[in-house]
Symmetry: D2
């Protein structure tokens, strides 16, 4: 059981649905935020940094959106489905764009391969939660 | 001229459009992030805090989404219109939800009145930019 | 092996020390950021919210400092020991203050008990890294 | 009167000192967060990006610490002087390091000149507030 799961299970709100999809999405958001930040930094240390400027940009965008999404999803007391859905849609786009970019040179840079995988997990988790919300 | 405008005008990218709408939206995002954070804190200091828990939640959601939106909009080198549009849509929703909530008790709490106005400015600025992007 | 460990191990910088202490501190920061955000939200849903306003405040301060610390620690290319040390010191203080507060009513609120433990882990991890940096 | 000033003046806490130094520091933190984010992005668009990797790193560190500091300073209800002092010290260091870096090539890149000035303002504002707190 992750800390995220423990936290949601101890929430006093009777209507707080600590669904597996919610827990998975929150953990994927924070994991992807770290991976995007670290990948941007690793790209900066590559000799070929000039070829990686787009990757660095999508990494940071993805990390920023994931941190915000992880926080909003962690807040269930006054949760608003319209906002949750719109933000999940933005997070799916951010993760997808970053994964596409990272995967395009994953064979050259291990950090891009790992980051691309974290982005795909987060994209998938946010999309699944978005479908659940309806 | 705000620092945001100076920063965008000095960007080397030939295709970076430092439009008035973009500058206004970025400044509105950071302003609204501060207002939401401060309003949540002021609500916590009210005797009637138990009646303000929904406001505190929407304040924080709004602040988190605004910080992410302000950062992504400030990043123009590898800007992706799909992500920008999706994030602007989420920010419009976050600001609108928070403004509705703050306005509902703006006559009782000055901080909610001021925060509600900051949310409306940010909502309007993000919607205008969203329309410009198309 | 966590994603954080994989990311740091794939960093091209020869002098990037992906020490166990660094990895543990980064993961603890993101975990504590989530726990603090979720604990503040759970406190808002308690009937006794008026007694928990200080806890909500320390939760948010702790979450904000932990997110910033997790990101700065994830950036090793141009890492500056002075900044790392100062930020780790701030994070130790934020986690310690929040843990003290959460522990003071941990017997009444399970979410405060869990959050307090996450804060102590992060405080300990950041202090250990701070000592390593010297 | 900025929105920050209006927000702090409307705080119900009798002991909330909406001092000029506090207001100036909060506004400087958000301004510097935007400038650092935009400067990192502008550096990525320069032909000489390979020479600017250290600047990009210090820009991001500075932006992350400034966002956290702006939020914590905006939260006055349960403000803890130990945390405020430690975080202000970290913010002074982040701004100073970033300003030193930006100024070292401010004559070549206008965005670095502007960002360096925003960093100095924030460094000065945070140091002044740190002295006031004692």
């Amino acid at each position: 059981m992750t800390v995220t799961e423990e936290m949601l299970n101890s929430h006093p709100g009777a209507d707080v649905a600590a669904s597996d999809l919610l827990i998975t999405a929150i953990d994927a958001c924070y994991e992807c935020a770290q991976a995007g930040t670290a990948c941007a930094d690793a790209c900066l240390a590559e000799d070929t940094v000039a070829d990686l400027v787009r990757c660095i940009g999508t990494d940071h965008d993805c990390a920023d959106v994931c941190v915000a999404t992880g926080a909003v999803l962690s807040r269930q007391s006054a949760s608003d489905d319209n906002l949750t859905a719109a933000l999940l849609a933005a997070c799916v786009t951010a993760c997808s764009t970053c994964a596409d970019e990272c995967e395009s040179h994953a064979d050259m840079h291990e950090h891009c391969r790992i980051c691309g995988e974290a982005c795909r997990r987060c994209q998938k988790a946010c999309r699944a939660l978005l479908i659940e919300i309806g």
